[in-house]
Subunit: 424 residues, 2 copies
Amino acid sequence: METTRILKGDICYSTDKDTLITVPDGFLVCENGLCAGVFRQLPEIYSRLSVEDYTGRLIVPGLTDLHMHAPQYAFRGFKMDLELLEWLNSSAFPEEARYEDPEYARRAYSIFVNDLRKSVNTRACLFATLHLPATKILMDLLEESGLETFVGKVNMDRNCPDYLCEKDGNASADATIAWLEQTAGHYSHVRPILTPRFIPACSDHLMERLRDIQREWQLPLQSHLSENPEEIAWVQELVPGSRFYGDAYDQFGLFGGDVPTIMAHCVHCPPEEIQLMKEKGVYIAHCPQSNANLTSGAAPVRLFLDQGMSVGLGSDIAGGTVLSIFRAMAEAIQVSKLRARLTGDGLKPLTMEEAFFMGTKGGGSFFGKVGSFEPGYECDAIVLDESPIPHPQKLSLKERLERFLYLSGDDWVLHKYVKGRQLF
Amino acid sequence: METTRILKGDICYSTDKDTLITVPDGFLVCENGLCAGVFRQLPEIYSRLSVEDYTGRLIVPGLTDLHMHAPQYAFRGFKMDLELLEWLNSSAFPEEARYEDPEYARRAYSIFVNDLRKSVNTRACLFATLHLPATKILMDLLEESGLETFVGKVNMDRNCPDYLCEKDGNASADATIAWLEQTAGHYSHVRPILTPRFIPACSDHLMERLRDIQREWQLPLQSHLSENPEEIAWVQELVPGSRFYGDAYDQFGLFGGDVPTIMAHCVHCPPEEIQLMKEKGVYIAHCPQSNANLTSGAAPVRLFLDQGMSVGLGSDIAGGTVLSIFRAMAEAIQVSKLRARLTGDGLKPLTMEEAFFMGTKGGGSFFGKVGSFEPGYECDAIVLDESPIPHPQKLSLKERLERFLYLSGDDWVLHKYVKGRQLF
């Protein structure tokens, strides 16, 4: 049975990083979950169908969070006075260890998934923990939410505290296979993604086993890259034959190529690393707030965009604290301006169009044709709630959208559609 | 008649920049608008009085916004892709010109004051516009709100567009005297503050007249200092005898000393300027978000604090976009971390304690004994709404407060008291 939905409202979406399309009082037509187009006047063939009338409301594509740690949602916003490696040991690891207890996991993940469902995001790539039962609880809850997600059971078998460390590479790899087997075919909206924590936490043997698992199971991969100077120096010690951090992944055959791969942060990439990411089609998850909170720095996003690389935005909960990818858009712009002023490196700050593109179509493309309203795109749409920000004057659509980046809360959404299904 | 109130809850306040006092299940006693103290157990003498029971809620001092432009609230969050001088000409000035129309002013200021009343802030220092009727409308609305504010009719007589420029120094000064005469004695909660826009917009003669007005009327002063490199170079051209930007104010006798004075931004101060600010007791309004949005940079707040200078936080609406001074606290920390990483200048990032201090007692002290719960302080208290951020584990008071800096919205306040009076 064919199903068609028509949403009427003030529609904004990106076609490329420099082009924001705004259609006041437009019609978004969705057929069988895919966008058929945005029209200023409703074409005759649809004229007998009912219209979901959101006149006067902003309608934009659902946002994609390309990098975040679901278990860390419970402690977002505190213990923020440390850099990456210290923060992992004193904050992230002890908090993640709690997820050994399925009851705690259910309580914490229920809060997280409920908030994510209500949020402006429709897609997310999530790190779980190393624990199988907790990871399955997370996947169950996400499946019920109707959101489209990738979830990764984390691999970590070295340089971690005893209470949060897999015994060795084989134990970690075997647990991953068990997780894949136990969850295969169970979900329509949740997909598995291979998730080695980062080079310092993964032995060479684990990485080799993960490559085999990736090939057998045809899995995408997510990890961390060049976030913090100390981390980078440590990788050089741990993989002495590597030319740079990304090369360490590449030596294990886990740096893109045929396989969709996300590397979070990419703050301190040397030119050869950028070149290799470009060649291998690696996605960059830019996490501006996290990079500020953990004193990591400011990624050279301008370079990535100008070279046509794939860049999306990440909340990086709980390095970052805020779910909304609108907030990540605003912060990407702000951080790019501070980078320009403080380093004087001549990289032009990001524009609002570029930030909106990264948070929608840029990151969305990791999921396929996602994050735009162009014909053929999977129809993720959110109807925004501007009522908390009344204004005394007329505003253009672009002004209203830009304002939403800077001012909106996580859940200023009235209605949410994913692949054409209405969640609320 | 003596009035005593007693608030019970989880109480946090600063005594100095490094000391955050947390009292779970404590009692805040307020007598005739002044704090009598915070007690772990209610002293016997108060035992017969009724208690306003906010058990389980965070109670903290009201926050102070030391710098913002009330007329710019209407366009916060858009037109953000420019630096200061261009932004003034293309965004701020055209928007401010609308306030010549009292009807527009009433509509716009009503939205602003309503939001400020509901916000976490209890005190603010506000720029209005050059228009007398609009400025009085703003003062009337603020008076009704019950907040404690300083409001300044803006002086600007050069280098501004014709549609938003006073004819000359005498016209500007005379209008200021008229404003002071017309409003004198009208308000209990709103006080006038002298407000030359900044050196580029004020002729020498205007500055001389303002000094006379300041002495006659005993007025505090607010203005802008060393925000943007182009602006600083321009001041050097306009006042060629000045040794640095602050010296230009000082040459006109308008740079602190006996008179309480706020300078907003102070991003690019040379050492001699910092030294002079210190000698003259000038307040620094640190506006981290604005300094990012307008690509101004990141002020060296660590230097100011370590020298014991007076520093508060400003939203700088609409260079900044967000009213809540909790948000400014989080951003002050984030920006200090980016500054440390990107410049490598060795200035240690700000701590949560320092940020909370600046947003409460630091800025509050411009109003007198304000911003703490120590005995004798004017009792501004807010009872916070943490219900939007449920959590699965036990949190300490400090963790809950830190989380509030990073996650709270402008109006996550359940109850608000100013000088002991309950607003809601």
